[in-house]
Amino acid sequence: MFRVAQALRLGLVVASVLLPKPSQAFTGEEHRLAADSALAGVTRECAKSIPPNSPQQLSHLITLLESLPKDTSQTFGELTASLARVDFGEHRFHIFRETPLEQALRLKSEDIERVWRVLNEGRELPSASVFASEITVCREKGVVANYLLYHLMALRIASLPLDNQISITNVAEAALSWEAYAQGYLHDALSAGHMVMPWRGNLLAPLQTTNYKAWSQVVSAEGVFVLNSRGEVWQAFGEHLLHWYSPHYEHVLACSQVSIRELVLTLFVAHELPIPGALTDWMRREGILETPRARVARWIEPTDGETLFNTSTPPAVLPSLMYIPMPISATWSHAPILEDSLRKSERRFYPQLRERGLHDPSISEASSEFLYSRTGVPIWLIPPVVEENDVVRADSVVRFVSGWAAVEYYSPLSPVTSAIGVHLRGGVVLPLHHEAVASRVGAGYTFRYKIFQPTLDLSYMNQLSSKSRDLFILTAGHDIPIPVSYFIGKSDGLWIEVGGLNALHGEHRRMGGVLSVGLYWNLDALGGPGFSGTRLRLQYSNMQPEGYVVHAFGLSVSWY
């Protein structure tokens, strides 16, 4: 029993070393910095614009916000990072090929009310550290619905009435801790790696973790072009790269700040405190024409994702939804014609959509595969110059209408496979000058060490010739990814393998050597949720089992 336990423990240790973890949206430090910076920016702008003759309570509260939440002895950013950096569940990913609107629509009012009822069961204020990680009603609904849920909880808690037991400080603390969790989801919603990755929750996932990670890494590092509901396009990146590309960081920060402003505004309005000028200015910039009180009432009343997006007229009821992006393959871009001397103008972007007439009729095949449906975007993202089913009009916008351009974007939206990790191999060996054809099957593991990717393979080969026995072959190999196109088409690289072999039976069972060189082709990833890839190898082998030499050609397929 003890040995079994030891073996299991050893197995777990080996698995934890060999099976890589999925990529994070951002590193913990990136989460922390983004959240803390956003909060500091909002509290500072509020502090600078406190209306004259405001009660002392207001400035005290603003100062307090900067050091909240206290219940966990962590800063706002640390709390955000603590959950976001360790959680890779499906609720932290966009739902692949769905727009933020479509994902927001998944959040129903009954979801919100069910969570709210649970939170209100106790007499004390609901603490995020107690409840937040237990909320599972929206797990399968993606990152946008989950952000909305946590953010709405923060807004509702911020508006709770005060009594002898509950002070405004308690309310602010509790609300901010919920907002910290919401910020984690918001950051995930803005991370490239969490936008185009179909979540890996499928039965084959454990075998293809490396491919999943490979794609995630490519997406995070190469970036992905995205569009938000404000008509802004930029290139989003993933972990370690948040501060590397300033346009992306600025969008993440802006989005985080809007979310925090919504919370702070709710806190001030609900407790009848004067509204700092910075917040009223922000409402004007967002195009909110209602009074703060009227708008906050729409956030905290029973609602759902659809109401919060309000698809008929811009902006969304909840402005932070306007900042959440979606991967994009083609847009209509519009530059307003300005008459000022500098002729400077900001371009505004609209998504090209799947329906006829709503996309450039000459769009490339690669771009057309990733178009969203008209029902997936709010009405203000449909450009006024095109009309459904009017292809001629769309063509004429591309060719003749000044100020408009049809723009395409190519991001890593298809699976990228990697040879790193576990693989299975099988194939045939054709020995020269021998009568038999042997088959070879095995399994192996490819490591990554800096730029090197050595592979260890253990395989079994049946009788090579009448003189030989069945063989076990242990080899170490390495690929050289330089395309070679001299002999049989263009290969993806060269392959070299050395090792030893040993006969399974026989009196002598002497160790022999094996040397193989060849070409390999990476076949298309099989796609879908499996992330698997295949590699075809054609190789020459020089084998020396039991003291004699066999020259052989082999053809094998690896599945990884």
């Binding site: 190469e222 970036g223 992905v224 072009f225 396009v233 290139q235 990146f237 790269l241 590397w244 590309y245 992306h248 871009s333 530059a335 500098l342 002729r343 400077k344 103008s345 371009r347 000459s362 490339s364 690669a366 591309v398 060719r399 003749f400 209408v401 000044s402 351009a405 049809a406 723009v407 395409e408 974007y409 190519y410 991001s411 890593p412 395309p483």
Partner: protein, 406 residues
């Protein structure tokens, strides 16, 4: 006088003498100009390229580093320089004019990223010599180097089936860092027949800020101070104008273009660029700058490299998906933006280690672009004239009317 200075002047002198003799020989073609109206120079042409690297592979192969690696130069030129310029085939394909971009990677990178290299002018003259010697010894049957507007007119007047027809090559420099932070070499280079100089290239080099133009080095990873034209850059631009050398703003960032527009007069050239509206890179030109180049009678040369013409997250993706479609869309966009085709040309940048469209990798196959443009402008009243001017006429007009205008 030190050894290198003496060697430099000897080379300049020798080449000047060659140029004078060459001019004398070409005088025999003058009578052809008398018969032809100036319009004929622009009409029914095949292709004039605003920017191509005719001898870059060979220049790299001659470097000491490459010579110490057997097969290295061949491997690099075959595997990495995917677009090809073969002068013999270009001649057979009927190409009219190629602006030969001289770019010495060893000069530019040896003191990267910002410092000028004082040895650059000597190397620059060697590159001019190398091209001229090649043309004289190996390519005289299909190409010729022209060194003035008059020579260009003479050469272009000779048309097929006249066996004396040659592809006209014009010396151009890609990056004024080739002057070695000095304006004195400009006069020598103007005398040598350099018609156009790009103010900046990959790096600032004390002259002007440049947009990132290395595709495998994403824009985000190439932060350079974007301060526009620097003091020495202003001197270079002014001196170029005095000498009648055309100013090429390719590779310049928007502030640099803005500065050049404000201190210069006459037409500007963007020899191999893209439109920022379609391909959002610091390398691309904004709508405003495209319009102002058009207003100044200049030319925007559309680069035949899809990576810049659209939005790709990697050069490998552009290699896979990029096609002539992106070229024609950019041409169409500039036409739509400016309301005229007269400001549009093509600057292929071929053989300059760029990834061309996947349906056009050899300059002599440029007829496929002509066909694509005909398809794009089908139905327009003067579509043939539009395509002909974009492919060749506009560039020829630029050089025959503005080269050498002090």
């Amino acid at each position: 006088m030190n050894q290198s200075r003496r060697s430099f002047l000897t080379q300049v002198g020798g080449t000047l003498a060659f140029s004078l003799v060459y001019r004398g020989l070409s005088a025999e073609t003058l009578h052809l100009l008398d018969d032809a109206s100036s319009d004929d120079l622009f009409r029914n042409r095949t292709f004039s390229d605003l920017h191509a690297h005719v001898r870059l592979n060979e220049w790299i192969a001659k470097a000491g580093l490459m010579q110490s690696m057997p097969g290295g130069a061949e491997f690099i030129s075959k595997q990495m320089n995917k677009t090809k310029v073969d002068l013999k085939k270009c001649h057979e394909a009927g190409l009219d004019l190629i602006c030969v971009a001289h770019f010495n990677p060893f000069d530019e990178f040896v003191s990267m990223p910002s410092d000028p290299n004082p040895d650059a002018p000597r190397q620059t003259v060697r590159m001019l010599d190398e091209l001229e010697e090649y043309v004289k010894n190996e390519a005289s049957a299909f190409a010729c180097v022209v060194k003035s507007r008059g020579e260009l007119q003479e050469r272009l007047a000779i048309r097929s089936p006249d066996t004396r027809r040659r592809v006209a090559l014009i010396h151009c420099l890609e990056g004024a860092h080739a002057l070695g932070f000095d304006i004195a070499p400009l006069r020598i280079l103007a005398d040598r027949g350099v018609a156009m100089i790009g103010v900046t290239h990959f790096f600032t080099k004390g002259l002007a800020s440049s947009g990132n133009s290395i595709p495998f080095f994403p824009d985000a990873g190439a932060p350079q101070a974007n301060i526009g034209l620097m003091e020495r850059g202003i001197e270079v631009v002014k001196e170029m104008q005095k000498l009648g050398i055309l100013i090429d703003i390719a590779h310049a960032t928007a502030p640099t273009v803005e500065d050049i527009l404000s201190i210069s007069t006459g037409p500007l050239v963007a020899s191999h660029v893209s439109a920022q509206a379609l391909g959002d890179h610091p390398y691309s030109l904004t709508d405003e700058h495209i319009q102002r180049i058009n207003e100044r009678g200049g030319i925007v040369g559309v680069i035949l490299m899809p990576y810049w013409l659209s939005n790709y997250t990697s050069a490998a993706k552009a290699d896979e998906h990029g096609s002539l479609r992106e070229v024609t869309r950019t041409v169409r966009y500039i036409y739509k933006l400016c309301g005229t085709h007269k400001c549009i040309g093509i600057g292929s940048d071929f053989a300059g280690y760029v990834t061309g469209p996947n349906d056009l990798r050899e300059l002599d196959k440029i007829v496929s672009l002509t066909k694509a443009l005909r398809q794009e402008f089908r139905g327009e009243k003067n579509s043939e004239e539009i395509v002909s001017d974009i492919m060749a006429g506009n560039v020829i007009r630029l050089f025959t009317e503005h080269w050498g205008n002090a």
